[in-house]
Amino acid sequence: MSGSAEFARPVGASWQARALLGRYGIALVLPALLGLGGVLSPAFISAGNLSNLLLQFAPLAIVAIGQSFVMIVRGLDLSVASMMATAAVVATSFSGADRDVPGIFAVTAVVAIAVGLLNGFLVTKRRVSPFLATLATMILLQGLRFAYTQGAPSGNVPPLLRVLGSAKLYGIPYNALVLLGLAVVLGIVLHRSAFGRRIFIVGGNPVTGRLFGIRSDLVTIACYLISSALAAVAGLILSGYVGLVDNWVGQGYELDSIVACVVGRVSLSGGRGSILGALTGAAVIVVIANEVLLLGVPIQAQMIIKGVVIVAAAALYSSRETSSG
């Protein structure tokens, strides 16, 4: 954690074979997992199952992209799952007809912007630790949601959102298309734009950022905004997938998205990460969950496997960055 930030390896060296393996090794895990799935159960690599995998992959991947933005600026967003559930509750708060979809989008956008601003404000202006700030937002959203629904949300998801969340176009789910669009746009923002470079500078070394004249507070707030906006999109999609709503849509996504990022080599201490990494991490999680399900492993064993995978993956891919700790 300490030495690596000050003495970053020169760019040329990272093209050595070992560095490449370290950097993209996770991409090898995914095909291996897919192959393993095919061996274990032929049903796994059927077009139908792969298409279903994509369907489940999209919401987590969208949240993980937002999470990676926040993690790169040395943050953490625990409020994403609560944001997802709130978006889902908003989605069913109208009459359930398609003409309400613009209204749903508008209300969700307002909530997401408010949440992102609150998180960013607490973290930058009040110097609250990200873990705590987003934890407080999470509880706040949860409370408001429960107060609004009186604990028992009801109502229907508009058909348009259902299409977005669960329908497929020639076997490709619509939500995967949404994911693709978001990933491309945000990938360009993060990896090819001046703003993206500022994100990495602020996350890598805030002092350097300040010396460069970067307004690090604004950059950080923007990252929290991106995260809650993406969580809102994922929540709407997931509500369309589930079809009905309860107060817990998206439960567990906050931790899953963090794990996806860690598995995808987004650094917990900031300054390092990529959209592709976050996507790969999310894919690994979804594929493992699906394989475990296909094998008919009981739920208890699923949790144990998940725990082992979390620790093992982090040990494999984050050992280099914390080697001095």
Binding site: M1, S2, L78, L122, R126, R127, V128, S129, F131, L132, A133, L135, A136, T137, M138, I139, L140, Q142, G143, L144, F146, A147, Q150, G151, L255, I258, V259, V262, L268, I299, Q300, A301, Q302, M303, I304, I305, K306, G307, V308, V309, I310, V311, A314, A315, S318, S319, T322, S323, S324, G325
Partner: protein, 322 residues
Amino acid sequence: MTAALAIRAAVPWWLRSNAALAGVIVLIGIVYGIGASVSDRFLTLANLLNVIEQTTDLALVSIGQTLTVLAGGIDLSVGSLISLASCLTSGLINGNPDRVVPVVIAVLLLGTLVGLVNAGLVVTLRVHPLIVTLGMGAILQGVTLLYALGPVGRVPRGFSFLAYGRIAGLPVGATLAVTLCMLIALLLRYLPLGRQVYALGDDANSARLVGLRRGRILMLVHGCSGFCCAATGLYLAARFGVGQPYTGVNYTLASITPVVLGGTVLSGGRGGVVGTLFGAFLMSLLNNLLNFMDVSKHYQLVAQALIIILAVSIYVERRRME
């Protein structure tokens, strides 16, 4: 600037070094002030003891959590460990009074062991405690569900003394929790290893350079955290009379709130367990007040979140003044 200095000079030193603790006590005072105007039953000794009794579980978990946070880490396996401990307690005792003592000892040892394993994994795998304990949490929840898918076993009638009993008018469980807290506070203050917890949390790199053994320190804090979780599990089994596989779920994140309210900084190195005790008491008192005011459970969450935001914002403002 001069105004800030003048304000600073006017604040007594003991308040400056315990600003967060003072803040919590002020908040407790405010809650009492509101409570007094809401109902005259709020200020009674009976209600105070009642609130203290209800604080026991949260206080116990949070004391352990404080240690891991002080050392610059966190323990996200507490919820699952509490569930496991509560299930094992009632499942193994299963109504047989003769088994109480061995099972209690075994459960406490198991909790400590889980903490030690957490520490060992953090050190050997070089993975952030957040991830290790998150993974451990998932594993332990799985193990708990392997053991019991629903409420399991029962505890003998006498065992509930731990949760509801009173000695000389004082609630037993809460007294034990306060004693444990005091022991840990002394340990942190007077044992070299205790002070090293602060050193590690404040600056891990410097701690390494002066030769502190990170492994030992982490084993101490995670071991204590595991022990506290096991104790919480025992307490919950006594309170409900039966172990439930999801009984601890909410404690994972809930245990962080009292820690922070009590002035322990999440990045480590500053704070202490006594503040946590007051933080836990504030949370219970707040819920108690909202119950008196007939506020629905849903709004209690909102109030809880607002208190957290308020408290940490004020505290940070003060730190900046230094």
